[in-house]
Amino acid sequence: RSLSSGSEGESRLTRVLQERFPRASSIKVVDISGGCGAMYEIHIESEEFREKRTVQQHQMVNQALSEEIKHMHGLRIFTSTPKP
């Protein structure tokens, strides 16, 4: 259950995000804790973010990963919408 290796954690988080953001055009998860699964950087581009303030967009990601976040030391989130 714990996110032991960087790439395992990255894949797992990516899968969760794909499920929660079915309309995402791009999802990228990077372990920035040197493979410890302690800190991640999340880049996600999705139509689902359109017309929402950044803090709301980040909140959506927080909710999607609420379980996983409990085991992290920190995370960085970068959201965007696809060019129309």
Binding site: A38, V55, H58, K70, M72, H73, G74
Partner: protein, 142 residues
């Protein structure tokens, strides 16, 4: 100091339950804190000595805009507040920035606002003139 990537705050303090009752982490207590001043920051450490890279980033950004007079709360000193502020904003990480009592976001969002000019605008709404506006003026004179 550079805006480093040092550890932020992840899943919160497991202990101290929710924010009920009259403790320092209760909704009422947090509400009072966020309304205390136009600019309120919940961070790790203090503006003079941040204890986390993300908290430091917030302090540095505010400093760039000439905002040195604000309320900063060190959540490391108060586990109830640490959990309470996360419950209040429904946001899992520290630092947390409040402008005029409203939750604005963490370090990433403040950085974005700084880069796209939104922070200057938001400060203006609070009656705070960003130091960067004066810096620009000086540039134009040259």
């Amino acid at each position: 100091r550079p805006l480093s990537q040092a550890a932020g705050e992840g899943g919160g303090a497991q202990g101290s339950g929710g924010g009920g009752g009259s403790g320092s982490g209760s909704r009422e207590a947090v509400e009072r804190l966020v309304r205390e001043h136009p600019v309120v920051v919940f961070m790790k450490g203090s503006p003079a000595q941040p204890l986390c890279g993300f908290s430091n980033a917030v302090v540095q950004i505010l400093r760039l805009h000439g905002v040195e007079d604000y309320r900063a709360h060190d959540v490391l000193q108060d586990p109830d507040l640490r959990q309470g502020i996360k419950n209040y904003s429904n946001w899992p990480t520290i630092p947390q920035v409040y402008l005029n009592g409203e939750f604005v976001g963490g370090c990433d969002i403040l950085l974005q606002m700084h880069q796209n000019g939104d922070l200057v605008e938001e400060l203006k709404k609070l009656g705070i003139r960003s130091a960067l506006l004066d810096a620009e003026k000086d540039q134009e004179k040259k």
